[in-house]
Symmetry: C2
């Protein structure tokens, strides 16, 4: 079984943008309103998009969440984010109910700059307990590129972590769109977010002493981290700490959203297969065929296949690690006899 | 000849910190004051530091600039930065005069959040024409981690670029310390700065049509860029543009400050040797011996040597590219019969 741990609903029907445009443009106090999307529209968008590519590429199940760039936590206030998150997560739930064999849900959180974690805790609980979701996406920078929140190791985030531990669900650390003209959302802000988050964990590894079962996925192949693994190992050893593999990699995994063979080769050379989860983020930031290979840039299964991993390692990366990091996925699959 | 294109005076005598502490702490209007450092102190710091390592590692010449984290453009105002830059650059000039065979100067600029480029233009001119410097370090984020300046492709920066072109000197894009608690200066902020700058160039390559001879070095192995080369190639090709190697890499070089063999292997696999310059950034962020290799993490010559490059490629990476990107270095060496 091949599980893609990182997919967003980027191909949503037009009613989603209509809702969001009205929400952001409204001149009165935030109200929830309705998001008008039919099952038929959802079915069409998925069948001609993600599901088609799953079949073509030979993957089985995508861990699916609202469009990351669309989370836009910097718009409006806590209530804006709450209504938007509820609608967005409900939409993912509808996808998962229409295609239960192919998609399982991960929620966005109703974060807002400066807001407490209370709303995010409530929405996580709703999504896990009522919608059957198995994790969440956590934005380390709800300001959209001005980085005004405390580091992820700060107690500010602890109420969410307590709930994650209680529910036994992980978070993928994932920024959203940037409103800072210095950044490009998918070009620099996404990868900077990954690099920044991992470095925060490295600075204050006490977090994982306080929450030994807390688990994060740092996406996009871990940002700049594996490429500079020597830099991080060196800085960390200088502090008299154990190797990063021991210090952090029980709690942190990287995905395989790295869109060329040399990048994937490096990732697997420096990071143990226990801490790598297969993912493609399709249909995402990079679309189109690489003229050098003749296949889609984001068809990451081809790069992983080319590694010639042992059966045991393949199983970890394609399935086993995802079932371990997302125990609710494991339970769900076992209940289905898989 | 082996040229290290990226070294900072991190081992400066105590008088430097005393000056800076007094400058930042002073309660009245900025005044230039004196920086009290003797030639003997400089000689000692260099002979027991960078020069010792040059000899041990078999490198010949370091392109040397003030400590990057110390630039601290976010402190004080334009005048604070001006006095600090003048003193810091004068100090580099003294190192270069004491050890003319081993160090050649690159200046920091007196940037300040929101300030025009006028002061930076004047200091660049002074350093090149009066002190014999061959380039500058340009901070894309003088706010120290809040990214409040326009992208490097914006006309805001053009007066500096005009002067760089006129003087025929390149800039290394290099952020300074961060005052944003979300970032770690050398862990995330440095690499994010590199990734962000390159992405800015990719977004608005018109910059290099307007300034065909403008040259930048993106340090630390290009941040996250080479590891995600497929991502950037794909995003760029999607825009109907030529390959990045053609679009940007005549104007942009990466250095080799990547502190493990797999990272250097990847860098050379995806980036042409015309666009890579040898560097170690010693004595810098990562100190100490890698227990896996038995030598210093930042002894990057060992990783490059292990590549088994052809003589022609070795010459480019160790010497030729630096002489091309820094034409004033080439002239200086030729005048010395080298």
């Amino acid at each position: 079984m091949i599980i893609d741990c990182h997919g967003h609903y980027t191909t949503y029907p037009a009613g989603v943008d209509t809702y969001r445009a009205n929400q952001i443009g409204q001149l009165h106090a935030p109200s929830k309103g309705a998001m008008r999307v039919t099952d038929e529209e959802i079915r069409h968008s998925i069948e001609t998009g993600q599901l088609k590519l799953q079949r073509e590429r030979g993957t089985d199940l995508t861990i699916f969440s609202p469009r990351a760039a669309g989370m836009g936590h910097h718009f409006g206030n806590e209530l804006t984010s709450r209504y938007w998150a509820e609608h967005s997560n409900d939409l993912i739930s509808r996808v998962c109910k229409l295609f239960p064999d192919n998609f399982v849900g991960v929620c966005m959180l109703p974060q807002s700059p400066g807001a407490t974690m209370a709303g995010s805790v409530a929405e996580l609980e709703r999504c896990v307990n009522e919608l059957g979701f198995i994790g969440c996406n956590l934005n380390p920078d709800p300001s959209g590129g001005y980085w005004q929140s405390p580091p992820l190791t700060d107690r500010y985030w602890y109420p969410l972590y307590e709930k994650m531990v209680e529910l036994d669900v992980p978070a993928m650390v994932h920024v959203s769109a940037t409103c800072n003209p210095a950044y490009h959302t998918t070009g620099s802000h996404y990868l900077n977010g990954d690099t920044t988050a991992f470095t925060q964990f490295m600075q204050q590894p006490q977090l994982f002493k306080n929450f030994p079962t807390l688990r994060f996925i740092v996406p996009h192949g871990g940002g700049a981290i594996p490429y500079h693994w020597g830099r991080y190992r060196g800085m960390n050893l200088n502090l008299g700490r154990p190797e990063l593999s021991e210090l952090l990699m029980q709690n942190v995994s990287f995905d395989t959203c790295v869109y060329h063979q040399p990048g994937i080769d490096l990732l697997f050379k420096v990071i143990g297969t226990d801490s790598i989860m297969f993912a493609s983020e399709m249909i995402g930031a990079v679309r189109g065929i690489d003229p050098q290979t003749g296949f889609d840039f984001d068809d990451t299964k081809k790069y992983v296949d080319a590694l010639g991993l042992s059966d045991a390692d393949q199983h970890k990366v394609f399935e086993g690690n995802a079932r371990r990091v997302f125990p609710r996925l494991d339970s769900l699959l076992k209940a289905r006899g898989k």
